[in-house]
């Protein structure tokens, strides 16, 4: 059966036996986003940022994925962990938010939703299915009730409102830098630059993060998306300290 084959090939691989026929990357391990995601509040809105690498084991399945998904015009979600889990949870959250608003919101700001509503719905799904899901999410958005908000919903399904948060495998490398350089009430440009720099730093050090830096800025007038290609990112990789190499000499 399909399951038996996978178990056998994994065991064989573990003993150093190369597979007789080719192995399909998507069948060996579940697609995981690897990832670095973050969101931060600034004076008047929020900035969400993410890298764009999706991996299956060691193979990069998608080098230009979009991990910041729109729930409503004014509320977006960063996804990390299992791609299947987060994509499907996000689909459920969109549906539940629309149903809730259809029944409860009336004609107030059609197309928008309370950020806390989206965050709570996500948290309920994450908590009630904590044994089946592998999903870490960050909800960010702007609404008229509470203004700019960021909610972190890590593995396990807890929810906490925060001024900024990071997530994913690459977040480990930038906690210190973020804590040290974050300021309250940055301007929009400062916040976008700060998030882009943080993601670039994580990409430089985390193997599971890479590709382009995607940013989404949400404020009272709407939301806008950006993409920073490696040539436009802060040159973090070249700033990493290296021992200069003699040209034409032996690498040592």
């Amino acid at each position: 059966s399909f399951q038996d084959d996978t178990a056998l090939s994994t065991t064989m691989a573990a003993y150093g036996v190369p597979p007789a026929l080719g192995v399909a990357p998507e069948m060996m391990e579940e697609i995981s986003t690897g990832t670095t995601i973050m969101a931060c509040q600034y004076d008047g809105g929020v900035v969400l940022g993410a890298d764009s690498r999706t991996s299956t084991g060691t193979y990069v399945a998608n080098r230009a994925s979009d991990k910041i998904t729109m729930v409503t015009d004014n509320v977006w979600m960063c996804r990390s962990g299992s791609a299947a889990d987060t994509q499907n949870v996000c689909a459920y959250v969109k549906n539940l938010t629309e149903e809730h608003n259809m029944q409860r919101r009336g004609d107030l700001d059609p197309g928008m939703a309370d950020v806390k509503l989206v965050a709570n719905l996500t948290m309920q799904l994450a908590y009630k299915n904590k044994d089946k899901l592998s999903a870490g999410m960050i909800i960010g958005g702007w609404d008229a009730t509470l203004g700019a908000q960021v909610y972190g919903i890590p593995l396990g399904g807890s929810m906490q409102r925060v001024p900024f948060t990071v997530g994913g495998s690459g977040s480990a490398y930038i906690y210190g830098w973020c804590d040290n350089t974050w300021r309250e009430n940055m301007t929009r440009e400062e916040a976008e630059g700060w998030v882009a720099r943080a993601i670039s730093l994580a990409i430089a050090r985390d193997a599971s993060s890479g590709g382009v830096v995607r940013l989404v800025t949400i404020h009272s007038k709407g939301s806008s998306r950006q993409m920073l290609e490696p040539k436009h990112q802060s040159l973090c990789e070249s700033e990493l300290p290296v021992i200069p190499r003699k040209v034409g000499g032996v690498v040592g």
């Binding site: 059966s1 026929l21 399909a24 069948m27 697609i31 399945a61 299947a84 499907n88 309920q124």
Partner: protein, 306 residues
Amino acid sequence: ATHVVEVKPARALAPGLIRSVAMAHIHRDDAEERGGFNFDNVRRNEMLRGSGLAFKNAMKTGTTISGVCFAGGVVLGADTRSTNGETVADKNCEKIHYIAPNIYCCGAGTAADTEAVTGMIASNLELHRMATKRDSRVITALTQLKTHLFKYQGHVGAALVLGGCDVDGPHLFTVYPHGSSDALPFATMGSGSLAAMAVFESDFKENMTEEEAKDLVARSIRAGIFNDLGSGSNVDLCVIKKGEVSYLRNHETPNERTYVRSKGYDFPPGSTPLNRRNFMTATSATLPLNETVIISEGAPEDAMVM
């Protein structure tokens, strides 16, 4: 049927996730309706395994499948080798499946799963077209595939490259067995995906012509055929443009048999030595073996004597 089945909550994942799934006795029909799993066959299989039945390996496609968007449509490509363990089960199978007149889907992974899941979604979309009187959209097929695969948590081993051309333009998606998907301008899947992806990463460009796109996809599949053991035989292509689909079955056959015996294979009687003859007499309930047919018309020499 009103057979009462206990559904184990640890594996059940009903669509209404915010309702907690309690340990309960549920009718089999109810379980299906709620979207829960029915694991009766798992219990049956375990019991059979326990009594010593050897299971055949599920036939897998090994496979190289790929797709590319060009100016005005998509081109899908696939190899044609189907494997059962290390044997080639089918040298010329069809891996590009019909979903809708404007949507086709290449399938990698377990052959039965890809055939069944694409057939099911094709059927759903046909009913949907009849109900809505509109052409199907690729994202409809995508969402149905994703929700089905996610519900089965990766046990349905179908990895798909879905492509089509609808009212919103050309679309290309990859769908993974666990229920995630990616939207890409070029995509590969299967054991030969690395070889095919190498070709795409070198030579893909935006807004290609149809001929360039067909050539690129054919080259990517050939890369998989010649460099991956799980892929082989021929290249199938499918070009989908607005209002026009060309299914190019065996577009390239780079592995035709080189040496064929010119005399053919005609074995005269007596080629195989006879070891033993064993005749069984018919019972009175069956027709007698030696029946003579009496000819009422025509020449006796033309008659066939039974």
